[in-house]
Symmetry: C2
Subunit: 227 residues, 2 copies
């Protein structure tokens, strides 16, 4: 058949039960309703949600794509526990991507996106809502990553961001990061201005320092909690 003109493609609903269950569990984990270490018992979930155990198994398998859960043979899955190593890994990836991103040339559109994200962040900072600030902070950094001009990399970064927000939430570290640090906004402004003035080496250095500083603070906090 010849395709019909003037008809934009639409995506029909088509969401399987397993995907629904997966999304539900994901939400529970990200909200903190399911705390790290909680086992995901297939039977319990099945009877609670009124679906079959097989469907729950499929949902958990789908969830396994993210790193929000950990699975062991014959033991099932549990909500992932924020390890220091995992968190460092996450920040290593962030630092690599973001430093790499600001080392690349950025056109007007991408720079404008970063500027816009910075404005959002400043507005959120005035508001004082922690979750909002975290979201806008991550959005700012995601905007810088768009310099790669790759949907795949953006998707990868988004995945990291999800994990990150889960980790920070689980550690209840988000408040510490944003409320107590007066230089928080300045660091972001500095990064943006370096990008806008095409000072790529400077931008790279600022991003590196910004993330290193964040890692240092988190590491200290983790040592305090664990040790």
């Amino acid at each position: 058949m010849t395709p019909m003109k003037g008809l934009t493609k639409m995506s029909v609903q088509r969401v399987s039960t397993a995907e629904h269950v997966r999304d539900h569990i994901t939400t529970l984990i990200l909200n903190g309703d399911l705390k790290p270490g909680t086992p995901l018992r297939e039977n319990a979930i099945a009877t609670t949600l009124g679906v079959s155990r097989n469907t729950v198994r499929e949902a958990v398998l789908l969830l396994g794509q993210s790193r929000l859960i950990r699975h062991e043979m014959h033991h099932g899955s549990i909500v992932a526990e924020p390890t220091k190593d995992a968190l460092i890994n996450l920040y290593d990836a962030r630092r690599g991507l973001e430093v790499g991103a600001v080392s690349l040339p950025a056109d007007a559109e991408i720079t404008a996106g970063i500027k816009s994200a910075l404005d959002d962040l400043e507005r959120a900072a005035e508001g004082g809502d922690d979750r909002e600030i975290v979201a806008k902070d991550l959005a700012f950094h995601a905007a810088t990553v768009r310099s790669f001009r790759s949907e795949r990399i953006d998707a990868f970064y988004a995945q990291l961001a999800v994990e990150l927000s889960f980790f920070l939430n689980a550690l209840a570290a988000s408040r510490l990061d944003y409320a107590e640090d007066e230089t928080f906004l300045d660091e972001h402004r500095r990064i943006y201005e370096a990008i806008a003035s095409e000072d790529r080496a400077g931008a790279a250095r600022f991003v590196q320092e910004h993330i290193d500083e964040t890692i240092r603070r988190l590491r200290a906090r983790l040592d305090a909690v664990e040790g």
Copy 2:
């Protein structure tokens, strides 16, 4: 318990049937035994491999993490077809990642790894085995990506490399890329030397040109095949 001395850790089997099936299907796809567009019929696979349909479903779900198959509700899964868009997306990600990588400072260890990968590539080029050359080529680029110093990014890149080898194999384009291009090795040497001499801007430019050129060639080939 006190851990026992002189006993090195071993990883016990712990591989589910579904994972076996997934790996089997993955191999078939990468080998080209299952051609793009081939539907993965659950019943057929189940009876052929002597496992239950549910296990096959789990295997296909696991496979869905990669982009080697495409799934549609009530239609099942088919072996992914190499779209021009998908290939461009893949190369966009590669270019972004690799240009970003060589824009970062590389220490002696990483530089040595790149040098070693280059030597492997040169040896493979002498041998003339196409598959070997493709593998060593990808290994070289993976070595540059290690500049990010992030396991996560390396894993992401490895995933891209798997898809890429599938695409190139499906398009039977690998020969064209490596056999007919005399400058192939020189381009890699140039990249390595720029990295070794810490000329990051030069390395970034060379990588960019190398990948742009590859994209241009692939695009031309695709146009010839499709049009």
